[in-house]
Symmetry: C2
Subunit: 206 residues, 2 copies
Amino acid sequence: MALKHKGLDDFGRVPVSFRDRSPIAFSNQDRIPVLVDGDHWVNDSWEIACYLEDAYPDRPTLFGGEMGRAEALFINAWTQQIQNPGLINIILWDAFQAVDPADRDWWREDREKRYGSLEIYQNGKDEKLVSWRQSLEPMRVTLGEQQYLGGETPAYADYIVFGTIQFARCVGQYDVLEPGDPIRDWCERLLDMFDGFARQAPTVTT
Amino acid sequence: MALKHKGLDDFGRVPVSFRDRSPIAFSNQDRIPVLVDGDHWVNDSWEIACYLEDAYPDRPTLFGGEMGRAEALFINAWTQQIQNPGLINIILWDAFQAVDPADRDWWREDREKRYGSLEIYQNGKDEKLVSWRQSLEPMRVTLGEQQYLGGETPAYADYIVFGTIQFARCVGQYDVLEPGDPIRDWCERLLDMFDGFARQAPTVTT
């Protein structure tokens, strides 16, 4: 979404499987995403956004200046500390079902180190979903006032939160946002952007 | 803090008691704060910040542009929906003790409509404090990376959260932030600003 936002449309994508990180071996680390731009590479979504903003300052802005970037870091932290853990709690089992069978042993071992037994996540999803939706209230209030977290147009802050919901959308087995929720409407607007770019992402049901 | 940030130092302050809103009767509404600037008035902290930013664009910025303003609205919503209710839960009883005795009947009736019996808030403060501190984790993570929510300098976003903690500091009977907490250090930096302006606010113990 950040690449598209910057109008950097001619990028390629290289699949990286969980069990085989050889496509990113050049980076001497094993975390995705990794962005390669000419002879430069950068990993971590936040760092990639910062790199794009700094390397392409004349393209549409992701942060709207240093203060906007600083505030977006809070939204990033909120997403990582509050919003995404709540969502993972709901979709972890579904995510496991969506993993390439050849990756499942790797994935189970890795994820169980962090989250405990995957089987725990089969249950209680409805209650967790209610609680997760409630935790989004600050976003709901904000989107009652403006179209995007970035205001009249999306900012990187929007893509931070959207990325986690897009993940749920692609691997989950039911909608996490209710009809009529302003956050769902916001999500639909982001799915429509860039000629429906995010809508074209493969999902477990397609 | 927003006035000081804008370098608008020559303001006066008019006390408004809970039971008597006659000083703001001209505004045909009863909520404080109300800012009067020449023949213009505006109420609501967020609206006041927006007014100052727009009316004094050549002074130090509170938002850093439209995207920063939009993102600050999320931080405002997070403060109002999550952070401040958690803090009120802890300090409501202390706040009641700090109310001018002549205002107490008014205050009890008004607050009990919103929060239920004030007596409930005498208990469980230690547990509520642990939970409130935990809810600040996104801010703690952010302040691990930068001095202020606004980055290297404070933004209105900082003053939003600070205002609620300053309220607790002035009416509460114990520190809500632990020594060593980056949020406490941030709070101390804000208390030092503008020649210790916020530090000079009267508290129940002074």
